[in-house]
């Protein structure tokens, strides 16, 4: 479904050049939920921005369902960390959700209906005519999730989607994402720096090294569904997986500095 081959990206040129990605290979299967974890500043966002077609990587290839992203914008939706800047404050919540649907060739009525349905699914049916800034942070991120849902993308990208909300809201949103992706059999690539979160929501966790980022290792998460904030997190398998991911993330952190 998603095929990332030997992806490298360098910002700038000459002595000030900074290599963010150092050859990443990544595959995501249809219907899979993959979490990418790595230390902060490792280039996770660069990876996501490349897949979303927002930057053109210096090397490597990205294909979504056999279509190269560089040629046509991918058929994908993005949920950004910064919901307050990702939603458009001059539009009502309903208009925000309906906006991208024009590309889907839907008429006005169909767009409205699809937006209402998606808002209903994230528990915000009543908020359609409100403005985003009238809602709490968690609710705004639900709107962003509803916008992605209504779009029915072949791939959903999430960039630290729960990084700016409080702990309780974060758990609610994690469960919401698990629920909707189960319901729509969506393919999701979620980027996070939170090890617990990656194990809790993922089918598979891919760990990146520090920048220039490479794949340090990956783990299948064979925890049973439906997942539960309390019960899943106390399973020995969860604790074990979390430790494994933690070890991978840390391994590179504590490795000796590269000899120059």
């Amino acid at each position: 479904m998603l095929d990332v081959v030997n992806l490298s990206h360098t910002y700038g040129e000459g002595p000030n050049a900074h290599q963010a990605l150092g050859g990443i290979d990544l595959k995501v299967a249809e219907g899979e939920m993959v979490c990418v974890v790595g230390p902060s500043g490792c280039g996770k966002s660069t990876l996501l921005r490349s897949i979303a077609g927002l930057i053109r990587p210096t090397e490597g290839q990205i294909r979504i369902r056999e279509t190269t992203v560089a040629d046509t914008p991918g058929d994908l939706a993005v949920v950004f960390q910064d919901y307050s800047r990702s939603l458009f404050p001059w539009m009502s919540v309903g208009d925000n959700v309906a906006l991208p649907l024009r590309r889907r060739g839907k008429d006005r009525t169909a767009r409205r209906a699809a937006a209402a349905e998606a808002l209903e699914e994230v528990g915000l049916a009543a908020a359609s005519s409100k403005f985003p800034w009238e809602l709490s942070g968690g609710m705004q991120q639900r709107v962003a999730i509803a916008r992605a849902l209504a779009y029915r993308p072949s791939l959903l990208l999430m960039d630290e989607p729960f990084g700016s909300v409080d702990a309780q809201t974060r758990e609610d949103l994690e469960d919401l994402v698990l629920k909707v992706r189960e319901h729509h059999r969506m393919t999701v690539l979620l980027i996070t720096h939170d090890i617990d979160e990656s194990v809790y929501v993922g089918d598979r966790v891919v760990v990146l090294t520090r920048s220039p980022a490479r794949v340090a290792g990956e783990l299948s998460v064979d925890l049973p569904f439906p997942r539960d904030q309390i019960a899943t997190r106390e399973l020995p398998a969860f604790v074990h997986l979390r430790a494994e991911v933690g070890r991978l993330v840390r391994a590179k952190k504590e490795s000796p500095p590269v000899q120059v």
Binding site: D75, F80, R85, P89, W90, L99, R103, F131, Y151, L157
Partner: protein, 276 residues
């Protein structure tokens, strides 16, 4: 229940009335002082406001009811002036916003054009009137050209600035969801630049009044600016003062009406800022 609601509305109205009074109480006092001062001085050059108002009534507002009490003189002066004012301003808005978005969104284009913009805006618009008189002949064309040239800069510069600084996450979101060109322009870029565009457009409206008058002082056979000149040359000083007062009122009304529109269109902006 109803009584409390009624009580609240009367109380609300009373509070609103008090707020208005608190802001305008100085105006009648200033007018009274003006009246007393000019009467005391008895100077021909400074007629008292009562005399100015009487002359304004005589010149412009003593017409038939069918013409909204406007005299033929008023119609002959106000309509051409307002047509030039709004025509020039509207044209400047269309050109300024269109060009501004193009320059704001294209680094390449703005690299070439920016120095020209800086040079163009540095030329005081009235200095171009002699040129425009040659180019367009006397009359409306030349006046509209002067207004367009004079008022386009704040619109252009603010639009460039607003269109250039669309929030990165907004732009990323639009691009990732593959919004089309028209959608990006009308649903993202223009609304995002809206607060800045409106600030420029409002400034240009008051500039348009100034340039309308200036262009009519120089080359015109009608209009409020022409009236101002004509009354002065005929030693009709009350009439001249009347034109000055009229222009002041016009500027005030234009700005106030524009603010009403702006508050409506940008209500999201004001309210979003209050909540965050």
């Amino acid at each position: 229940m109803t009584t409390t609601v009624e009580g609240q509305t009367t109380r609300g109205m009373r509070a609103g009335l008090l707020a208005v009074l608190a802001r305008v109480w100085l105006v009648p006092i200033a007018v009274a002082a003006w009246e007393l001062g000019t009467r005391q001085a008895g100077s021909t050059y400074f007629p008292p406001p009562s005399q100015i108002l009487a002359r304004m009534y005589e010149l412009w507002f003593s017409g038939p009811a069918a013409h909204l009490f406007l005299t033929d003189g008023a119609l002959g002066d106000f309509l051409p002036s307002l047509a030039r004012l709004f025509g020039g301003w509207a044209l400047a808005c269309v050109l300024g916003i269109g060009l501004g978005v193009a320059l704001g969104r294209s680094r390449k284009l703005s690299g070439y054009i920016d120095p020209l913009v800086e040079f163009g805006r540095a030329i005081p618009p009235p200095t171009l009137i002699p040129l425009f008189i040659i180019l367009f002949k006397m009359g409306t064309q030349m006046q509209v050209a002067t207004i367009v040239y004079g008022v386009i800069w704040p619109i252009l510069i603010n639009t460039i600035d607003g269109a250039r600084h669309v929030d990165r996450v907004h732009a990323d979101t639009a691009q990732a969801f593959g919004l089309g060109r028209a959608q990006r322009l009308f649903r993202i870029i223009l609304p995002a630049a809206g607060p800045k565009i409106f600030a420029g457009v409002r400034l240009s409206l008051s500039l348009a009044v100034i340039l309308m008058v200036v262009s009519e002082l120089v080359g015109s056979t009608n209009g409020i600016g022409y009236q101002l000149m004509f009354t002065q040359q005929n030693f009709d000083l009350s009439g001249m003062w009347g034109a000055i007062v009229l222009l002041g009122v016009l500027g005030f009304v234009l700005n106030a009406s524009f603010l009403v529109v702006e508050r409506r269109v940008l209500s999201w902006h004001r309210r979003a800022r209050q909540t965050t």
